[in-house]
Symmetry: C2
Subunit: 505 residues, 2 copies
Amino acid sequence: MALKKTRKDNYPEWYQNVISEADMAENSSSPGCMVIKPWGYGIWERIRDVFDEKIKSTDHENCYFPMFIPLSFFQKEAEHVDGFAKEMAVVTHSRLSMKDGKLTPDSELDEPLIVRPTSEAIIADSFSKWVKSYRDLPVLVNQWANVVRWEMRPRLFLRTREFLWQEGHTAHASAQEAETETKNMLEAYRELCEETLAMPVLVGRKPEHEKFPGAVDTYCVEAMMQDGKALQAGTSHFLGQNFAKAANISFVNKQNQSEYAYTTSWGVSTRLIGGVIMTHADDEGMVVPPKIAPYQVVIVPVIKKPEDEAAVTDYINTIVAELKKITPFGEKIRLKLDKRDRSSVDKFWEWTRKGAPVILEIGMRDAAAGKVMLKERIKINTPEAKSIISREELIDTLASRLERIQRDMFDAAKARLTSNIRTDVVTPEDFRAYFAQSNEWIEDGKTGKVAFVRGKWSGDPDSEALLKELKITIRCIPFDQSGTEGTCLLTGKPAKTDVIYARSY
Amino acid sequence: MALKKTRKDNYPEWYQNVISEADMAENSSSPGCMVIKPWGYGIWERIRDVFDEKIKSTDHENCYFPMFIPLSFFQKEAEHVDGFAKEMAVVTHSRLSMKDGKLTPDSELDEPLIVRPTSEAIIADSFSKWVKSYRDLPVLVNQWANVVRWEMRPRLFLRTREFLWQEGHTAHASAQEAETETKNMLEAYRELCEETLAMPVLVGRKPEHEKFPGAVDTYCVEAMMQDGKALQAGTSHFLGQNFAKAANISFVNKQNQSEYAYTTSWGVSTRLIGGVIMTHADDEGMVVPPKIAPYQVVIVPVIKKPEDEAAVTDYINTIVAELKKITPFGEKIRLKLDKRDRSSVDKFWEWTRKGAPVILEIGMRDAAAGKVMLKERIKINTPEAKSIISREELIDTLASRLERIQRDMFDAAKARLTSNIRTDVVTPEDFRAYFAQSNEWIEDGKTGKVAFVRGKWSGDPDSEALLKELKITIRCIPFDQSGTEGTCLLTGKPAKTDVIYARSY
């Protein structure tokens, strides 16, 4: 029973459909902002917990910094303010008063406050107080917070005015140590995307014109959505001494000389959920990888006659007790017994739309035979959609089944990514012809639609205008460079650098 | 080695001292806001995790609602906006532009946005979309978020312009069900304060003039600080149909009639950390209850000669491996091995100032004898401060020791609370004389300083002015009413209601 719009019908509408049918989020009456509903927020909580563990196991500590940044703090780093000035929410008053029968902003602030679009400016100020000597370094902190960027074309999860994220901020005694940190956290993002979200990514460096405002280098993980567009899933920035100079984060080094520290910052946001949707969801709705599913297994009782209820309930309770001992991925299983007063068919479809990895339907016949009906979400459109297995087999195999589902989801997405990076587009003419097409859904296991091109780039100043004209972007300069000579796909000039070209979210 | 200011010297300065010496938080350059540092944030994470489990186990689900609330939403509930209008951060512009060489707010919004001081107004709007039929009720949601109230006299943890909290919001089909929810969550707060924070509280209802703006009834948990002042630790509001009418949360009931829903809201914040400090900290610094200590046990190696290092490290590693299996309170132990390059004495004092419940000092002599030096934070000023125990005894008793420390901390605070509620002040004259004194530190195990008075209140309209004159407040109307007749301590009129009078934070 497909959604109102399938991926083929209308990809952007399908995306909205998936979210609303899975009840993950909705547009709010607060313009450009979203309400993240329990199923969407549950996914975020899982992502947060997994990555928080990584943050802590790599010696970072969580803090919380003010959301309001005095305007003057932004004046200190020119590139930084240029990059964000156009999309800043500005607090100018601290009360409301009645004026002519109308509630009106009152008590104007001496200095306007910016609602953080990112926290380098305010955290650098703290670092400047904390760091005096090389003994105080490194400083390794992180915060989970809301941030605001005044998006003019908001889209659930991908681009909303307010969103949730984590932002790591570190300060180091040497450039080398800071660069290592930047790359380590990029690797942590790759691992998060691939191993937890089952979302394969390309890793690399951003070209100069795509860098974070104020950074020396920006590294990124880029995923391919089912319509061949790229999604920037996470970024890690080497900030050099730019913010340290702006905020005076200086320290006395081992040679007893004063020096500016080297800082980094890195972040991933609720945008990842948009990436998960467009990596895994299908025409029936959402599909959540088991590692981040709020419920990995949902049990739907099927009670056809009232007199069956006691027996079915008893049987289910026994199974629940046994399943609770199971530890897929080495963790407590997340199990839901759906006892609501609705039909089992409605419940099945609801959990299918939400993308619960495994649904167990259990009725009188199953109770009598010691069996269960098991439905794997990722197999819903295949002949193996339903399987009746014994209770023993269920208990014995459920953990490995969830682990296999996670692997299968990654493998399928990885195959799509790999087979849709064109490397045979080698002339500017072919390149133009390729990107003259618009992005469409890439059917599972297929190639041929517009997606990524890996090819040469000269780094010429004309690039930006040409990219704009073609409505494409350079996603990254991959770490694995071939080193061969070739022709820049934008300008036709000789070029050596391999880049990934694509349209993007 | 006491702090610069003891509780007796200067109680407010002692409070600031405890926070800065424990490195829990500091004032930020963002006016009125604080930076919560790792040790403070770690305590908050523990409180959050414990209460989040409670929220979920009582069928509430986490969501996230926008932080920006359109101004017009506040106009819908008159009392609500009156209560908060004086302390609202107002966003009026969405970008910065250069004007006359100065960064200036630009692009004025059509409608100003309020940074949430609390979220009833915006959540009620969502509820109005979600609730159509009695089948959609109850709605039980919670969010962990930052909120802003424009405090003019900010104070770390107790009163900052931005703070962190959880806010639960629910909608029900009947007043009775909503009232039950309100009281259940109040009970959850009592449990959180007493069983997790080891902070005893009084529970009751707020008098009319202390209610949450827009509520029908506000219930609260009130704690007593070491200077006899009260701290409102959490509140739970029965909102009746006030917000439902304002935002049109209506539903078709079982009788097929349209009706407004009944809503509740309830919250606790980072203010609880201020309460924990003023309940448990002493003249040596912070004391953290084991249940919320980021580290329950800290191991400090004592290496006097370089040649001892290997043996001591080996011995410590064996102990760490054994201790990791211990599960105080039925949870994984939180253990820190402090390997930093500092003196063991400095480390001991640092962890003492931070209030780690148990510090283990382990050196060569201990390694040779199979012993450890154990220091319990709460005993630091007693002859039992240090004890040398065998490794076996340590392993066998550490979990129960931490559990006993938690209990002892609660018992001590409970004794202070109980013995400092005066019930023998029965005339307005004595009452005035009592509160003519100013609040001072109540030495452990002592009474006689200004603290709480439990006595009669007539509910007379003059009360507010009299309370202001005496600079005191009615903290709550306790649930356990005696029902006897008596004299109102404010007005001298006949009165039946028992209330708790106190100064407060």
